[in-house]
Amino acid sequence: MAIKKPHAASVSAEENLHRKLDMIDKRDAEVKAFIEVYREEALKSAKEVDKRIKDGKAGPLAGLVVAVKNNIAVKGKRLTCASKMLENHHAVYNATVVEKLIAADAIIIGSVNLDEYACGVDGTYSALQRTRNPLDLERVPGGSSAGSGASVAAGMCDAALGSDTGGSVRCPAAFCNAYGLKPTYGAVSRYGLADLAMSLDQIGVISKDKTIMKRVFDAIRGPDPRDQTTQLAENVSKKAAEVKVIGVPKEFFEGVDKHIAAGVRKRIKELEKNYEVREVSIPTLRYTVPIYQLTMAAEFSSAMQKYDGLRYGFPADRNEDLYTSFAKARDASLGKEIKRRIMVGTYITMKEFKDAWYSHALKAREVMKEEFASVMKDVDVLAGPAMPTPPWKFGEEMTPLEMYAADMLTIAANLTGTPAIVEPLSSDFKDGAIQFYGRHFEDDVLFRI
C-alpha cells in the first residue's frame, strides 16, 4: 500500500504544506474557512512524513494536506461545532477518521467552519464566523460543511472531511465546484463525529481531485468497533461491479434551475455513448423533504439533550433550580435554527403527537428504501443534478422552508443510506454539478463512471 511519493511528485510534504499555509495566510482573512489552523503540529508532522517518505515507509496519504470539519474530534483541539455552546470545548480524543488520517500520513492542517451543529445549507448559520465562497466572495459556500468546501476551493488543502446528514458534503462541493462524496451509511466510522441525526450522518470527503478524494475515502473507510453501524462495512463485496445501466429519476429534475437542469441533461447525453440510460421514477422522492425534516429533527432533539449547561456552554447558575438553569444555558448558547429543530423534534416525539408525525416519517422512510431497492435492481447508478440552484448571494433572504427545499436532491441518499457523489459540470461553479447515487456499499462504483 505504501506510496512513496506525495501526490505532487516533485513536492515534499513540507513544501506542499507551506503552499497551503501560504494560501491560508493570503486568503483566509476574507474566506474565513478555518476555525483553527494547526500550524505547528502540521509542520512537525510534515517533517516526519518527509522522513518516512525518504525511508520508504510512508503511508498511502503521505504528504496530503487535509482539513477537518469542526464537528469531528481532534484530540486536544477545540471541537466547537461552530456553536457558542462548545466554543471553548476541547476534544479529549481523536475521531476514528482522524486516527486513520494520521496513520495514513496525511497532514491535518486545521479545523474548518460549518453551520452550527451542521444544521444549515449555506454556512450562514455558523455562530462563530461567516465563511465566504472563494469563487465569488459575495456568494455562500454551501453548507453545512462550508469551511470544507471553501478551504478546498481556495487551495488551502488537498481535501477536506465533511459530514453529510442531508447533503452537507455534496452541497458545498457543488457550490465550490469540487468533487464531493457521501459514502454509504456505515462505510466510514462516525466515532468522533458530533451527532446531528444519527441514522443519517455520514463523514464524507471534498476535493478538487477525484483521485485524491478516493484515496482519502479509502484511508478512512472500514469497520470500527466503536461505531456499531459500521458492522455492515465488513460485508462489502470486494469485486468491482461494472456500471452498465444509468437510471435517471424524472423527479430529480422537478423544481431545478433550468440552466443547471440543461447542463446535467447534456452530461447524461454524453454518458449514453458508454452506458444504457433509462428514465425511471421514484415517487417518494417528492416527499424527501418532509420525511427528512421529521426524522432529522427527532434524532437531533435527542442528540442535543446532553448540552444542558452543566458540562458544556455557559455555566449553569448554581443558585437556580436545575431545570431553570438548563433552560437558561441552552437559551444563551444555542442559535435560532438549533432551537427550532430541537423544538420540532421534541414536539413530534412526544407521546401525544408521535403517531401523527414521527411514526409516519419512519414508515415513509421504509417505503422510500423499498422503492430505491426495487429501482436499483435494474439500474446500477442513478443520475441527476446535485443542487437545484447555483449558490445564492449573501443577503438573499430565504425562509426556513426554502432553505430546507435546497436539500431535496441530496437527502434521499441519507434516508436510504446509499452512497452519492457530486461532480462539477464545468469550470464555472454557476453551471452546477451532477450527482450519482449508487447501491449500498458500492461506493467504489461511483468512481468508475
Binding site: N71, A91, P225, R226, Q228, T229, S302, Q305, L322, Y358
Partner: protein, 456 residues
Amino acid sequence: MVNVVIGLEVHVQLKTKSKIFCSCPTNYRDVEPNENLCPTCTAQPGSKPFGLNKTALDNLLKIALALNCKVKDSSVIQRKHYLYPDLPSGYQRTSKPIGIEGNLGKIRIREVHIEEDPGRYELREGTVDYNRAGIPLIEIVTEPDMRSPDDAREFLDELAAILGYLDVARGEPGSMRADANVSIDGGTRVEVKNINSFSGVVAALAYEIVRQQNVLRRGGKVIMETRHFEEATGSTTTLRKKETEEDYRYMPDPDVPPITIKQSHVTELGKTMPELPRAKSARLSKDFGIRSEDAWILVAEVEIADLFEKMAKKAAPQKVALWIRGPLKKQLNYRELTMRQSGLNEEWLSELFDMFETAELSDKAMEQTLIALFDMKRSPRKIATELDLLMTKDTKEIDRVIEAVVNENPKSIEDYKAGNEKALNFVIGNAIKLLKGKADSKLVRELILKRIKEKK
C-alpha cells in the same frame, strides 16, 4: 387486613468486567471518583456506544430463564429522555423487554429488560461521579401480584437466592434497588422510588401501607404521586405529584443495531443453568428426608446447600440441617458473612459437627470452637485441643466441681427443692463455668441431681 396490591420493579446490577457500551472497567467502588471514564460513558460530543456487552446480555438471559420467562427473538435499545446531572447524555439507554411472561412461584413476571446505570449525583455537594455510568443493569418488572410486605420479602429473598446461584449479579450493597407500586382497597397507585436494598423494600411497603390507610381513615384521598424512600427514617416523602405519566419520548437508538437473540443460544445457556433454589429445596427435602422449611432455609445460599449435601452424607441429615441453620448461621449472620465469604470449608465443619455429635465437645465448647474457627481457619480438633475445650475425661475433676457447687449454693438447692427449676440452672451454670465448658451440660445436670439426692 386491608386489600393491598403491590408490584415491584427490581433493578439489579449485572456482574461484568466492562461497562455495557464501552470497555471501561466496572470496579467503581474500588477507585477514585471519575476514574473509570472514556468518551463513550461520559457521552462526549462525537462518542458512540460500542456494541452491547455480550456477557451482560447472557447474564440477563440466564436470569430470564430462571424466572421462567419466554425469551424474545429480538429487542431494541431505546433512548429514554430526561435531564439530570447523573445522566451525561440526557437519555438513558434501555432495551425493550427481552424476557416476558415469567413467574417466580405465585408472582408473575411481566418483563425483564437491560439498561445502563447513570452516574452518582451527590445533591448536597453538587458533584457527580460517572464511574457508575454505564454499569449494566437489568430491570425485572412483576405483575401486581403481591398482597403484603411479607409476600414482597419472600419474592425478593428467592430472587436474591437465584441471583446468587447464577453468579451473574454484582451483589454488593446498593447493587440491587427497587421501585414499588402500592395501592390499597383498589385506590390510586403510588410509586415509591429510591429503595436501595431488598430489606428497604419491606420497610418502605410497611410504611406506605400505614400512610395510605391513615390518609383514608381521615377521610382523605390517596393521590397519584411518586414518593421517595428515606432509608434513615424508614419513611416515604413526596418526590413529585403526577397528573399524567411522564413522557420520556422513547426512541429507538440509531447508534445501536437491534439485538437479535437466537433461540439455540438460549437453549445452550439453559443447559448451563444450575439447579435453582426451588428445585434444590424439593430435592434435599425428598432425598435426605429433612423438613421442607429447613430445606428452604438451607438453599437460600448455594454454598450452604452444597455444604449440607456433603455433611449430610456423613451424618444424620436432619441434625445437620438444624446445626447449619442454628449455630452456624448464627455465627455467619453475626459477622454479616455469606458462607462463601467466610472462608470456612466442609472438611472443618464436618469435623466440628462430628466432635459435637460424639460428645467430644459440649454445646458450649462447640460454639467456642466454631467462633475460633472463623479466625484461625484450621482443623477444629487442633483448635479445641489448643484452647483446651475438649470434653474432660477426668471424672474426678467433674466430681470435685459438682461437690463444690452443691456445697457453695445451699440456698439455690433449697429453692430447687421447693419447686423453683430455675434455681437449679444457676447451679449447673456455675459448674459449667468452672469446668470451662468441657463437660456436657446434660451430664452435669444428671450428676448434680444425683449428688443432691445423695446428700439428703
